[in-house]
């Protein structure tokens, strides 16, 4: 990690001073956390929010010292110390006033910039959706010409020595050039493409652009990414190809042990299941004289085949979750929760990564559980709105394409903490697909989140840490850990029609 600090190194490294005044250790480049959420400033860096809070604290301290200097001055009305004491009072008072005004100006400037940025973002999203409808309309118009000229284009291509791009070649090229899809611009483009998919189809079907926009997320919200995903699953079902087809699921408890409660973002992230055979981890926290509470950790996607086989954490569950249907992985988590004895009123915190994040979002938004906290890592944002009283953070990388697959962010109260995993020109490992989505990258971000100093982020982290301790010291908590493996169960074969019914039918005919 790279950090740069102002001021004398020995003092800056010392961190907060006794009187609360600290030098701002400003992170740079990809170490910078950007906080998006409700509050005075909708979008700001963690360092900037911490700086504003420090300035406000500084203003209060200077004010208190000015009052003390004024008292001393009043007690020396005639001595030689009166004038310098009075001058000290005014100097401290001026500094207090300036620090307060700087803090207020900082918030106002960031707020104004954020409003302008959000307005521009909304405008470009509306325009891109409009463009998608128009592109769909144009595609419909040129499709007959395109099909009719297919043989001619093939002949010209053959004569010119051109050949169709080979999928394997393209895959190899992408693996060698991860920077193509590991950057914020690509992620935003992907987010708009996902968001505009339904608009493209509507345009191709001949719907006027204005009507399509009215039905979309910028209008009545009838259409959107969830509707596109539902259409995809419906189309897959109608095709009869056996892809994206949901099945029943079953869970098996694979272990029960004890462990200390997790404190901090790093410890929570490390407890998200990573083993192939582990899908859900549930921690039952018991504290004397307090009701039992639970932390549910949900694994990321484990299989990417379009056809559902034995693995519930698969592509089918991803699409079903985005479609706001009933993904197998979500049902498996609920089965595990029931097995662990979690009732509708028991306080629960959900922690998930990738698909686990999507499922955690859905569970928290469902209203079926007493969700008090939610911490997600690298998940596509669910369209389901999480209640405003749920504490926690949605942590993601601005260059992680997976986070764009849920489309635009929902307008709920979740606080999003963002960071760019790989800065421009930085070497990106090509061994793993989507390097910015890998555990190692998010583990590094977890360390930065734990080091965050803005009151906004700290409040959310403290709420999650406090959950495992209740009103007692965390060391007094007894934690029982249950681990679960989930699997898909083949759907039951349709029962043969009873012979009598057939005979009745036959006799009827």
């Amino acid at each position: 990690m790279r950090r740069r600090e102002h001021g004398p190194p020995q003092d800056a490294a010392a961190g907060p001073a006794e009187d609360g005044l600290v030098c701002v250790p400003a992170a740079t480049g990809s170490d910078e956390l950007v906080v998006r959420g409700s509050g005075a400033v909708a979008v700001a860096t963690d360092a900037l929010l911490a700086h504003a809070a420090q300035l406000q604290a500084l203003a209060a301290e200077l004010h208190d010292d000015a009052v003390r200097a004024g008292d001393l001055s009043a007690q020396h009305p005639a001595g030689a110390a009166h004038a310098p004491l009075e001058a000290s009072m005014w100097a401290l008072w001026h500094a207090s006033d300036r620090a307060g005004r700087l803090a207020a100006g900082l918030v106002a400037a960031q707020d104004a910039y954020t409003r302008a940025e959000l307005f521009a973002m909304d405008l470009t999203r509306v325009l891109s959706d409009w463009a998608a409808v128009v592109a769909g309309d144009r595609a419909r118009r040129i499709l007959p010409f395109w099909l009719a000229t297919g043989p001619l284009r093939a002949w010209v291509g053959e004569r010119a020595g051109l050949h169709q791009p080979d999928m394997e070649e393209m895959k190899a090229w992408l693996e060698e050039n991860p920077q193509v899809y590991t950057n914020p611009q690509f992620v935003e483009l992907l987010r708009r493409a996902v968001s505009g998919a339904d608009d493209f189809v509507l345009g191709a079907a001949g719907m006027p652009p204005m009507l399509a926009l009215l039905l979309g997320p910028h209008g009545f919200g009838v259409l959107g990414v969830d509707a596109s995903a539902r259409a995809l699953m419906t189309g897959a079902a109608l095709s009869g190809a056996g892809v994206l087809r949901e099945t029943p699921v079953a869970v098996t408890r694979t272990g029960q042990t004890t462990q200390a409660p997790a404190r901090g973002a790093v410890e929570r992230f490390d407890r998200i299941p990573r083993e192939e055979e582990e899908h859900v981890r549930i921690e039952l926290i018991q504290i004397a004289d307090q009701e039992p509470r639970y932390v549910v950790y949900i694994a990321p996607t484990k299989a990417f085949e379009p056809a559902a086989t034995g693995e519930p954490w698969d592509l089918t569950s991803n699409v079903a979750a985005i479609a706001d249907l009933s993904p197998g992985s979500l049902r498996a988590v609920e089965l595990a929760m029931a097995d662990a004895g979690i009732g509708a009123h028991a306080p629960v915190v959900f922690v998930g990564y990738s698909q686990g994040a999507l499922i955690a979002d859905r569970l928290a938004a469902s209203g079926n559980w007493n969700t008090v906290g939610l911490e997600t890592w690298g998940g596509p944002m669910s369209t389901a709105a999480v209640p405003p009283d749920v504490a926690g953070l949605a942590i993601r990388h601005t260059d992680d394409p997976v986070t764009a697959l849920g489309g635009p962010d929902p307008a709920d109260h979740r606080m999003i903490v963002e960071r760019r995993a790989f800065r421009d020109g930085e070497s990106i490992p090509s061994t793993d697909p989507f390097p910015s989505h890998q555990r190692a990258a998010y583990r590094e971000t977890a360390e930065l989140v734990d080091a965050a100093r803005s009151p906004e982020v700290r409040e959310q982290l403290d709420a999650l840490d406090g959950f495992v301790a209740g009103h007692a010291d965390a060391s007094e908590a007894e934690v029982t850990v249950f681990t679960y493996r989930a699997e898909r169960v083949p759907p039951p074969e349709p029962a043969p029609e009873p012979a009598r019914a057939r005979s009745v039918s036959a006799s009827s005919s």
């Binding site: 360092a47 020396h76 310098p84 004491l85 001058a87 500094a95 700087l102």
Partner: protein
């Protein structure tokens, strides 16, 4: 408490104010351009520099007050 005792307490109080003011002047809060979003960093930087100047001025005033009080204490003790 005698006048000397009161003066000694006041010198100690100014010492405390001076100590805190010196710390603030040394560690004047400032944010890095990389942590800033949007334009107007220059305006912020100018305001932050003015605040740093105010903090240094407070130190100078308190140093004068400390010297004046110490002299009064010395005279009273003599």
């Amino acid at each position: 408490m005698t006048d000397v005792g009161i003066l000694a307490v006041h010198v100690s109080a100014v010492d405390g104010l001076l100590h805190r003011a010196t710390r603030r002047a040394l560690l004047s809060p400032r944010i890095d351009p990389a942590s800033w979003r949007g334009p107007a960093y220059g305006a912020y930087e100018a305001a932050a520099e003015e605040l740093a100047g105010d903090l240094r001025h407070a130190v100078a005033c308190l140093q004068d007050a400390r010297i004046a009080l110490s002299q009064e204490l010395a005279r009273a003790t003599a």
